[in-house]
Symmetry: C2
Subunit: 445 residues, 2 copies
């Protein structure tokens, strides 16, 4: 049958599809995040990609509903999940009696949003989430563990200079209530969230447009402008003349979280109280987080989240407070690679290419099997090809070694090992071959 030239073989717009070298790099990041989450004892969890639409749309508002991939199959009204939190809420409600609380779970999986098509926006993308869910209650110290996990995760990804920005929604909400602006808190928070992007003056304009008095706006902008090291910020908050119980609880929580974060081993250079952080989403009720790469602020927050009072109010009467974060891995990867912050250096897991230079394939195939038993990723080049083609193959893929098995070497019980980077070739025994390759693999890990 001939090619059907009408069929486009491109991946759909907004769907990431990587070449081998980038896919390997992507997997390294994903593995690293997973290892870091498990280091903190989070339990892996996987829920289906397809859910009943009524589950996903129980809470969802306008934007989500427009973006969702929804379809009918037989009698079922189905949708693709648009985040990992709603499925978690359903899962915990369903399996409540089989779970152990506090329930610490991580999930790394694809979610789907039919967003408007633009560079850096994906319609199918990975989220890497952790959440700690309490049954009826959950201690504030958990809010301090989260920055510790963010810290470990980004360190392990290879970053040193990043800042976890922390705030507490009770402080903001208490302030607004004290100012008589409680009803508008959501709208005000949304505007404040933009201060980094659009600046204080634009925020002032938006707040004026919301009908706030100049005195209230002054008070809010002064407030979110409280700056300094963490002790200074806490001290300033404690000295403020705002006599409001929610505000005071928020300040106490923030002080406690700040103290514990240090016990968890996070350096003070990597976290910072920032009273302007609000995280637009309505369900955060306490501590909130954002994470900025210091040298690449344009990338935006690479890890965000917060404390919420009730995970699953739409599915169960049980009160399930929790705290969690999410890394949008697909977008993060896209930013890191397009801005050349990270780069892939190999397009294969193979460390040794065995190249048979003799008719009898027994010695080369046996060598490959033995190398694999020693934990070395090995392939055999079995196609008929000239040496030049072989070199082209290993160089394109980034394979560091060729082990040549020829008649002469075989008679001597040796192999010729070629180091592709140094271009050196030497005769080695099997043990030397394993030692050389293992040493090189360790260096590049």
């Amino acid at each position: 049958m001939a090619k059907n030239t009408n069929i486009s073989t491109k991946a759909l717009a907004g769907f990431m599809e990587l070449l081998p070298a980038d896919q390997i790099l992507f997997n390294q990041l994903r593995d690293s995040i997973r290892q870091s989450y498990e280091r903190y004892g989070f339990i892996p969890l996987e829920t289906p990609i397809i859910e009943r639409s009524e589950v996903l749309l129980a809470k969802a508002g306008g934007e989500t509903e427009k973006q969702i991939y929804r379809f009918q199959k037989g009698d079922n009204d189905l949708s693709l999940r648009f985040d990992l939190t709603v499925p978690l809420a359903r899962y915990v409600s369903e399996h409540m009696n089989d779970l152990t609380f506090p329930f610490r779970r991580y999930a790394i999986g694809k979610v789907f949003r039919g967003e408007r098509n633009q560079a850096g926006r994906f319609r199918e993308f990975y989220q890497c989430d952790i959440d700690i869910i309490g049954n009826e209650k959950l201690a504030v110290v958990n809010d301090a563990e989260i920055p510790s996990i963010i810290y470990t995760t980004f360190k392990q990804l290879g970053f040193d200079q990043f800042t976890i920005r922390i705030n507490n929604r009770k402080i903001l909400n208490g302030l607004f209530d004290w100012l008589g602006l409680a009803a508008q808190a959501g709208d005000i928070l949304r505007e404040i969230d933009k201060i980094d992007k659009i600046g204080a003056e634009k925020v002032r304009e938006s707040l004026t447009a919301l009908g706030l008095a100049d005195s209230a706006i002054d008070r809010i902008l002064q407030f979110i402008n409280i700056k300094g090291d963490n002790e200074t910020v806490i001290a300033q908050l404690q000295e403020l003349d705002i006599d409001h119980p929610q505000f005071k609880t928020g300040v106490d929580e923030l002080a406690e979280v700040t103290k514990y974060i240090i016990y968890f081993g996070v350096p003070t250079t990597n976290f910072k109280l920032d009273l302007s952080i609000a995280r637009g989403l309505d369900y955060y009720t306490g501590t909130v987080y954002e994470t900025i790469l210091d040298q690449h602020p344009g990338v935006g927050s690479v890890c965000s989240g917060g404390r919420y009072d009730n995970l699953a109010e739409y599915y169960t009467d049980r009160k399930l407070p929790g705290v969690g974060i999410s890394i949008g891995l697909t977008r993060l990867f896209y930013k890191l690679t397009t801005e050349n912050i990270i780069k892939s250096d190999t397009a294969t897991p193979t460390r040794v290419l065995v190249y048979p230079m003799m008719e009898d394939l027994k010695p080369p195939l046996e060598l490959a099997a033995k190398l694999r038993e020693h934990g070395i990723n090995t392939e055999v080049y079995t196609e008929k090809a000239k040496m030049k083609k072989i070199f082209n193959y290993v160089e394109k893929l980034g394979i560091p070694f060729i082990a040549i098995v020829g008649e002469d070497e075989f008679k001597e019980g040796n192999y010729s090992l070629k180091d592709i980077r140094s271009r050196e070739q030497k005769k080695v025994t099997f043990d030397q071959l394993v030692a050389d390759v293992s040493a090189q693999c360790k260096r590049t890990m």
Copy 2:
């Protein structure tokens, strides 16, 4: 807001959703398969879950088209992938010039089929595929590497007694052509494939129903009944009076593959020539594989595949022969767990639960941070709870150790380490703690 009691929190029928202990076990299998595939130098590849319907349906026939999840989003006619092979064909066609041939890729991912609902059948399930794709040609020795990968993979999964059954479609097709039954080859192969399930007599009835003469049926059944060790089968095939070029090529290939498999290190107890294996799918053109767990034949083939002439004829004019296999991991996992062939023993990655028995959380949090730095998965129990509740927590989750940090221990610079299995508790230094936990973790790996 109160619970919306109309919303079912169950996962949809046909969609696997695991509790933590089973999820961890599932992940162990998936990781093991991945490691095994990488050991052979296969490149990880991921394609989107959503594709253009025209791509997926370019070849698909009746059943696939009925089962596919297809929907409209904006102007796009979209579908969820139903296997990993069609997306691979599209990918290779699209990225041909960026790939290196032979192209060795593995893919582990979810696929979707709206099958009729029945136990053990899943609508969303994992496939774990490898394929070796040649550009215009691909040596037969690759067909021998595949059983070697199956062998390594199932050994690493913990199985010893399994049999990789091997045949070559050219032999069967040559035989049918020689019998003047070439036009019916597909139908005949489909019936032969059922011989294990329904027996020879039922197959005879089906072949009679297809209009085959008794003499031809005798010849076919005699043929697929050729038994014995691998050398005997090859010898018998070579002695047959079937003078047909395709038949002879098939016998030669099977002989070559059998020779190389042994070089690759597969014990003769783990593979077997079986002339009844046909693998219904029309696109296999050479070597074909099935894998049976010897003690659990009812599970069916746990890993199947074969050689094909042309991967991507619908998307490119380039000829891309290949050979590959697929493990249906979700179904395999379901069978292995429901038949109690494998069992999970832990419901968390955590190895040590740090339990603070003092007001000041600094020492316990610092201990946890230090343990994590030593690569030990650690969590801290920070909720207020009695000792009995803590024990219940670690036993339900299968956490092997509790490290108690109390005032007395802290003053002495020690910790109390409780081994949950032996119920022993002893005072240890940090180094002893790390050594004890590491030793236990190694034992259970």
